[in-house]
């Protein structure tokens, strides 16, 4: 199969099928409808199940049932739908059920609009649902990377028995780029068998129970420690990021997803104008990549975080730099794209005037 031209939403759906996902439960919401529609067409072709649920609340609970029954399962939605799914996501994390959840972010809060935005960062990275839990959150910035990361997400989910979120935005969902499924990066993890799944007892010695209820405080405490041992392992092994032109950089742009593409353009323009500018692109938003900041914090004059929001990831950058250097922010909400000219102006200010 050569390169094909696909929308981000379609590429993710195809990648999921190629990763062995045979169960998809979803509910229509713009700008991710192409995932749902693609699945409704493809799942019957591969002997899988597509089911349009009555709500996002039901969709995520169908994911809970199917994931708990041992299947590779996915759902996709956009901000308002993800808000409805938070209850189920907390239960999935608590009951240690692997699954992949795609959020194609749009402008908010409330009904907001349907343009691509990045204002659900906190919701995905810092919690969203109740209780102490973490989601592994991956943020692609090209259509090929959407396919790569969806493939990877299923392995990570199974490896850690935890939900994995693909955090994209309306732009990535709607735009088309060539994608090569023959060259999708595959990790080939050595995944354990799902001996915990509720498949019907059969001849098994013990009953399998999928559950997040531990009424006895010391027992629940122990369960929380088990979860956090897992998260610690993820922090050691699942950090992903890209660094561009950082070796000599005095100003470093920090951006993820669609915004990182714009930032890369601005970096190139600034370089041509004589400013030593680099780019750090976090790919895993949780676990957040701290290393690139440790490596560069002594050399730079400052960082410029750019987001399609009023500033969410910027807080993680402040933590990662331990406030040793100024962390500047420029962002626009509501699906508006931060202006390259403004970014350039800010870079010049941080660098200390004209060259």
């Amino acid at each position: 199969m050569a390169k094909v031209l696909m929308k981000g939403n379609e590429a993710m759906a195809e990648a999921a099928i190629q990763a062995g996902c045979r169960y998809y439960f979803g509910y229509p919401i713009t700008p991710q409808n192409e995932v749902t529609e693609y699945m409704s067409k493809r799942m019957p072709e591969v002997g899988g199940v597509f089911l349009q649920a009555e709500s996002e609340v039901s969709a995520i609970n169908m994911v809970y049932g199917a994931g708990g029954a041992g299947a590779r399962v996915m759902t996709s939605t956009s901000g308002p739908g993800l808000s409805l799914m938070q209850e189920g996501i907390s239960y999935l994390a608590g009951a240690q059920i692997p699954c992949v959840i795609v959020n194609i972010m749009r402008g908010g809060p409330g009904l907001g609009n349907i343009q691509g935005a990045q204002s659900d960062y906190f919701q995905s990275v810092k919690g969203g649902g109740h209780g102490d839990y973490k989601l592994i959150v991956l943020a692609p910035s090209t259509i090929q990377e959407m396919a790569d990361l969806v493939q990877e997400a299923f392995d990570i989910a199974d490896d850690y028995r935890n939900p994995v979120v693909i955090l994209g935005d309306g732009m990535l969902g709607q735009m088309m780029e060539p994608v090569d499924f023959d060259n999708v990066k595959k990790t080939r993890r050595n995944l354990p068998e799902k001996t915990w799944a509720t498949t019907g007892r059969g001849n098994r010695e013990h009953r399998n129970v999928i559950n997040s209820l531990y009424i006895d405080p010391p027992v629940l405490e122990k369960h929380n420690y088990v979860l956090f041992e897992k998260y610690k392992r993820a922090e050691q092994n699942e950090v992903r990021y890209e660094m561009v032109n950082c070796d000599d950089a005095e100003v470093i742009l920090v951006a993820y997803g669609t915004m990182a593409r714009v930032a890369k353009n601005v970096m190139n323009i600034a370089r041509r104008e004589g400013y030593k500018v680099g780019l750090i692109r976090p790919i895993s938003l949780w676990p957040f990549p701290k290393e690139p900041f440790k490596k560069t914090v002594d050399q730079v004059k400052g960082y410029l975080v750019v987001e399609m929001s009023m500033g969410q990831m910027v807080e993680d950058v402040q933590l990662a730099t331990e406030c040793k250097k100024p962390v500047h922010f420029y962002g626009r909400p509501a699906g508006m794209i931060p202006e390259p000219s403004v970014m350039l102006e800010k870079i010049k200010q941080i660098a200390g005037g004209a060259r």
């Binding site: 169960y23 439960f25 199940v49 089911l51 649920a53 009555e54 709500s55 609340v57 039901s58 969709a59 609970n61 169908m62 994911v63 809970y64 049932g65 199917a66 994931g67 708990g68 029954a69 041992g70 299947a71 399962v73 209850e87 189920g88 239960y91 009951a95 509720t198 498949t199 019907g200 007892r201 059969g202 001849n203 009953r207 399998n208 129970v209 999928i210 559950n211 997040s212 209820l213």
Partner: protein, 249 residues
């Protein structure tokens, strides 16, 4: 010594967490016996809900999942779609099924989801301390209707069996009670029929069981059983509301 009685294999040895005199215990036993007698225990996957029966996953001797409040039919849908050859059931109370989980139960029934729902109706929220449920009778006092349920404030009780039986996806729906031996026997037959509807791939099946809550009703167990007969049964008539089984046993 000859064995004259044995506990069903469908239940674990974990002691029930239910109040004395509550009929959840009877209903658990009927569900467990039905699965054992139909020979489906080894392929049963149950879904516990939120309410007094939240610990049902401890009691039924088969694979179990515990679902969020009201979501059991959606969870069961996910399980059944992955394992269509297995027998999947939910065990839900009236708050769980008829209030917060109304969308999930209606759409599972409308899809003809091949699952069996055991719906325990005791006309109040038991676990949280006896608040008004969607099934609370007009005039009935609860901790959130201290002056009795008033239609002008709280509207009217929902008759779940009648409502769901209007849906084409429903294959077997019956309302039963467990206040005396005769009715307990009928309830078991109904539960078996509901499982059969699933096994025969007919569609969605549900048995609504009128149950007691002596603790929150402030009655003795015997008074509570009589209250079901005298007050609940007239509003919630017993009987088969939908039956598409090939042969009724």
């Amino acid at each position: 010594m000859a064995v004259v009685f044995e506990k069903t294999k469908g239940l674990t040895d974990v002691p029930f967490s239910y109040c004395p005199g509550c009929t959840h215990g009877i209903i658990h036993r009927l569900v467990a016996e039905a699965m054992e007698e139909l020979g489906v225990l080894d392929k049963a996957i149950g879904v516990a809900s939120v309410g007094c029966s939240v610990f049902a996953y401890e009691f039924f001797n088969c694979d179990m999942q515990q679902a969020a409040h009201g979501r059991a039919p959606a969870v069961a849908t996910g399980i059944k779609r992955v394992h269509p050859d297995k027998v999947v059931f939910t065990y839900q109370g009236d708050g769980d099924l008829a209030a917060i989980g109304t969308a999930e139960i209606v759409h599972a029934a409308a899809r003809g989801e091949k699952i069996t729902v055991i719906f325990v109706n005791n006309a109040n929220y038991g676990m949280t301390g006896g608040q008004m449920a969607p099934t609370t009778l007009v005039g009935q006092r609860t901790t959130t209707t201290p002056y009795g349920r008033k239609p002008e404030v709280n509207g009217y009780p929902i008759r779940v069996s009648e409502m769901l039986s209007t849906l084409d996806g429903a294959a077997y729906i019956e309302r039963v009670a467990v206040y005396d031996v005769k009715h307990i026997m009928q309830a078991k037959k109904a539960i078996k029929n509901a499982f059969l509807a699933q096994i025969q791939n007919k569609g969605f099946s549900l048995v609504e069981v009128l149950s007691t809550c002596p603790t929150n009703w402030g009655m003795t167990p015997v008074e509570a059983l009589k209250w079901v007969k005298d007050h609940m049964e007239p509003y919630y008539p017993l009987g088969v509301y939908k039956n598409t089984l090939e042969e009724v046993k």
